[in-house]
Symmetry: C3
Subunit: 350 residues, 3 copies
């Protein structure tokens, strides 16, 4: 792909100085860039490179005053660094969009329905009766089980495993190694101390605009559905157990876990390594601190909690501070005991 200075200026709201028809096809650092490449200058410390670079186009800060003539076409923006990052990001999106077709070998069941502009990376497995929307990109080594549905524009990164019957919406991002739809952890204790597996015949529903990090696990429901609502963002290595519901725009940080059948409201923030027991509900807007252990339902919206077991944030902090000062507290108690003992002794002497 080739872009002209004027096209790029349009993308980043910049102003061209010099040859608006100059074109580039790739990126380079200002000190190494060659003709046909785009570079940027953000740190004034490196201004000298601007006058010697071979880059065809350079993005610079709008307030930079040139000390010499510059060979490259310039694009002036308020913040060259941010503009360059934005451009790189748009470029990557564009490249992902251009991924289309199949890298052989792939395994696609005859009964699967694949939309337009879909990318199937090498060693991707598509099971029976799978339905994949338009513009979906599935990276190599991923497994899509029977009857799974995936909506338009969703991206499945490398090595993701989605079990049979799960449903993913549109514009979802699932990162590498994540497992969706594994069996819920349900076992009925038997008289002899062994456990009998409770069949897990539900599924997982992931709604639109959800992002799920790498190596996370979301179990299928025993019966019914484990649900991740629209706009929720889940980080790496998180565990969502069977029949859990995660609300709209709820954010769960890395290594946190939610036990079975718990219902988490909308716009909840759950810190890293936090744990939530099963069969409770968490009100909208709740903030759960990292490493907290939530053992009871939180009914009041917008509550903040911390600790394990978790309770109200402000008083928990105060308790934690006092807990740290327990040696001091104990010393004060001991002194009092001495004094009272003395008073008692004196009283007897009266």
């Amino acid at each position: 792909m080739q872009f002209s200075a004027s096209q790029i200026a349009l993308l980043i709201n910049g102003k061209v100085e010099g040859d608006a028809q100059a074109t580039v096809g790739s990126f380079g650092k200002i000190e190494e860039a060659k003709a046909g490449q785009l570079a940027f200058l953000a740190n004034p410390k490196y201004e000298d490179h601007l006058y010697t670079t071979s880059a065809s186009i350079v993005i610079i800060n709008e307030n930079l005053e040139l000390r010499q003539p510059v060979r490259a076409a310039l694009i002036r923006v308020p913040d060259a660094y941010t503009a360059f990052a934005t451009l790189l990001s748009k470029y990557q999106e564009l490249k992902t969009q251009q991924l289309v077709g199949r890298q052989e070998p792939v395994y696609v069941a005859d009964s699967a329905k694949i939309g337009d502009q879909v990318f199937l990376g090498a060693f991707v497995y598509i099971g029976e009766n799978v339905v994949i929307g338009n513009n979906v990109k599935i990276f190599p080594n991923s497994f899509i089980g029977n009857n799974v549905r995936i909506g338009d524009n969703t991206i499945i990164h490398a090595g993701v495993k989605i079990y049979h019957d799960c449903q993913l919406g549109k514009n979802i991002n699932v990162h590498a190694g994540t497992v969706i739809g594994s069996d819920g952890f349900g076992f009925a204790p038997q008289a002899d101390g062994s456990f009998k597996k409770v069949p897990q015949i539900g599924n997982v529903i992931v709604e639109d605009y959800v992002e799920i990090g790498a190596n996370a696990t979301i179990d299928r429901a025993t019966i019914g559905s484990t649900i991740i609502r629209s706009g929720a963002k889940l980080d790496n290595l998180i565990q969502v157990a069977h029949n859990v519901e995660v609300g709209n725009n709820t954010v769960i940080a890395a290594q946190a876990g939610v036990s079975g059948s718990t219902k988490i409201g909308n716009n909840v923030m759950i810190g890293g390594q936090a744990g939530i027991v099963g069969h409770i509900s968490i009100a909208d807007g709740t903030k759960i601190n990292a490493q907290s252990g939530v053992s009871k339902s939180i009914k009041q919206p917008n509550t903040a909690v911390t600790g394990s077991p978790a309770f109200d944030y402000t008083s928990a902090l105060r308790s934690q501070a006092l807990s740290r000062n327990l040696p001091d507290l104990e010393k004060r108690l001991k002194e009092l005991e001495q004094l009272v003992k003395q008073l008692l002794a004196e009283r007897v002497n009266l």
Copy 2:
């Protein structure tokens, strides 16, 4: 597969009403089902559908009194919902059992021995001298290293990685993305601050009827074996370090971790996100609460512990409650200090 009403009734201990020879080949919701499908009616709210459904067979509660004639064959059971779920589960088991053969491409070393009725999904890798029993099902994208043995009826889900020399028994279920037999975390500190890897030349032995969740990790022993005993149930994202032994029918919930060389007894319950240090032993029947940190051996069977560091459950709960009330405790202490100060002052005045 086609099943008659009488066959189905046999499977779920039901009683046929109507045409016992009616046959079905798939499932449907009562309001959407077509001829040749099986449906169920559990909620009396939806009874109307029973009189209009096109389903060929409907499972209903035994106490339901019909208000109109029904076209479909009926199967009466104590609880239609449970019966339907049981049936669905048996159907899925049957379908898994029917998975047989290889989905090309697979990679199977010439020296591997594969039993009867085995399923190898696409992109499965089977290394040298691997021995796989009868009726084993290995889902796509899984890796079975050299010399691994897998017993009859074991199911390996998608993208599982089993390193060389590990041994799995019969009737095991390993969920997607789990790693068995990775190197134990052993490094010898060197004089210059760097670490030298201690070779990990043992293996992992998983006994019969074990279930292991998704994206879990079980390290191979330094020398000898890391062992998961018969009937143990391990949830998602759990970590079992080198040379650990997990006892019979022990249950470990999601994201818990067991450090190296620790021996866990039989029928132990370990809560989610709990951690257990290395080189200790945990008595049979111990209950370890979620997020606990066990730092010492537990010698008394059937002990319950909680907290980090973990101690006796009942007193830990009492300490936790008091810890939460520390601000109150401190206030009482301060008041006492005032009173005693006053008493002391008065004494001087005497």
Copy 3:
């Protein structure tokens, strides 16, 4: 491969007794070994087998006094068990080194550059412009994204996923299922409560001699690089967020997590399931206890901390002990209150 007794003696610093030209090609237990196999005898309890074994070579302790003539060639060493383990480990290394070539099918982009003596297991994916050094071994089902660079002698185990643009050095070991370079967890809150993804356009740099366990996740930087410095050792299921830097020879145990932009010094030890918040720095030589939650920078080198929130190890232990004794503390307080109340009452009566 065939080895003579004198070659093996050289490898393990042993002394041959008997036929130095005796050769073996594999290992066996002393009681089962056949001609052409190597066995060892460490436990004197099994000495009888030494006189009946068919093994061609047996490793024994140097102080063992023979009661009968032995057919096998003997190699005497200070500790037969350790010597055998060392040998097994060297043998495995050798076998890994001998893995060379491609197990078809693999997917290798035309623009990729692959070094000498490289092994690509079946179903390995190598993206565009990837550069792979000499003697690199990539096990089956792994994904190497576009523009990734991997240095000499690095081993990538089965099912590893490395995203585009990441750079791995030499002599690195990455265990199965690990993800390197997934998007950092960055989302900008919007006015309507939803979140907008912040593009993650940086990469991950892993320096030489690093070991990373199984199913770990290391996110790419937002801009710039997430860096794992030379000699660091990371265990299974650990999470390293975007823009984190992990210092030289730092050790992170299983299931620990480091939040975004935190900088961890050299020779730091982080216990299992510990968590570290974002945007702080941890001094060289810090020791962080298992399950700790570090919420503030640690500036003093070689500090030891524990607890959540974490503070100084020694005083934390004292506070924890007192915390456990809170019921006792409260009892003492109550007694004092009674006594003071009594004193006050008496005073009034004076």
